[in-house]
Subunit: 227 residues, 2 copies
């Protein structure tokens, strides 16, 4: 068997093995310095292995990072689905998923920043464009958050905005805040998290009527491109 295969064996999940040491060192360093900012020599040093050892487990630096991303991204998604109940209300399902992102980010700062880095890299965006990034066991269909939005819009509980905008309104603030937390710029307590999650819900929920204010454009007349 080729040792470079991505098949999961006991040797590949045993913590303390060279392979796991390399993976953790890579996640930690790349989350901080980025792909091009972390030489193999630095990874080897952080992992406490020889540089050559890394090439016993991974074909090259690209493969190393790509393989790790797949594993970390899948684990992240699995975490979100833990305890997820499709029979709950739209709001509760939404809060469950968003809270999951929050908690994952706080508990796994290196993995969180690693995923972030990857998604914002040229490779990440091309993956996202081709929708190839969701083959971790799920069938390539919509993410649960997108299902919640679709269901919520059908029930007129969630605003009629493009999916991308809803995702931005939900995830954007969380990613922003978690990054600040990881950077040590703020200290997140449970109350702030709860209130922020509630605010995210306020952003996407469809109000039932009364005093909705229109958004007027004061300066620019109308710069629509495609109506």
């Amino acid at each position: 068997m080729n040792i470079h295969s991505t098949e999961i064996s006991s040797a590949q999940t045993d913590p303390g093995s060279k392979r796991e040491l390399i993976i953790h060192a890579t996640i930690k360093l790349i989350s901080e310095y980025g792909f091009h900012g972390t030489p193999i020599s630095m990874i080897a040093h952080e992992a406490g292995v020889g540089a050559g050892t890394i090439y016993r487990y991974f074909k090259d630096k690209d493969t190393l990072v790509l393989d790790i991303f797949k594993v970390v991204n899948c684990a992240f998604k699995q975490t979100l689905l833990h305890g997820y109940d499709a029979n709950q209300t739209i709001r509760d399902r939404f809060l469950h998923l968003c809270r999951g992102i929050f908690q994952y980010g706080i508990q796994n700062p290196y993995e969180f920043k690693f995923i972030e880095q990857f998604y914002n890299s040229p490779y990440g965006t091309s993956l996202r464009r081709e929708k190839l990034f969701c083959n971790c066991g799920d069938t390539g269909q919509d993410l649960p958050l997108e299902q919640v939005f679709a269901a919520g819009q059908a029930q007129q509980v969630i605003k009629e905005l493009p999916q991308a905008a809803l995702i931005a309104l939900a995830i954007g603030p969380i990613v922003f805040l978690v990054k600040d937390s990881i950077a040590g710029l703020i200290q997140l307590d449970q109350t702030t998290i709860n209130n922020t999650l509630a605010a995210c819900w306020d952003a996407i929920q469809q109000e039932t009527g009364n005093n909705r204010q229109p958004v007027i454009t004061p300066s620019s007349p109308s710069t629509d491109k495609k109506p």
Copy 2:
């Protein structure tokens, strides 16, 4: 006079000059590939100048990027303040600033991603931590968005959340959406922008009473760290 000084002279703002060509090439490439991902040779080629020429205008690669960041970041802030009226309502001032970010990002995708990259780099976060990043003519005081939040909280128009959370709720979705737009994943029309801005306001505004729902924590009992 030292040519490496950051003082602004006519030679430094004339578009079409070697210096400007280098700056624009750097912004474009670094916004796409990041600092370590863009060699000087690539910048020289993109700018259509010799590699050595870059060192006639900038001491080294670090200085090049840092100098550009200062200029771009200041220009960005100036754009936001254009047409800003401190006598408007909290909501209108908020929308003005957020709309400005949106428009700046769409009209200046390279500069936008460049700023993003920088803020998320180790250098950027340390700058943010030390609050040194706002010396572009302003007096180092709070950003206008923070002033709006403070005033809004005093008037009980804006939620009692930490400033960092309010900023995340306001800017997070916009950054998220603009990045998707730049990556070509979505097409932003003015209606979507308006509705997203309104949703951002919904996220931070203090509701006047009635049916506020509490956010309950289903699984975790209470993981507060500092009450």
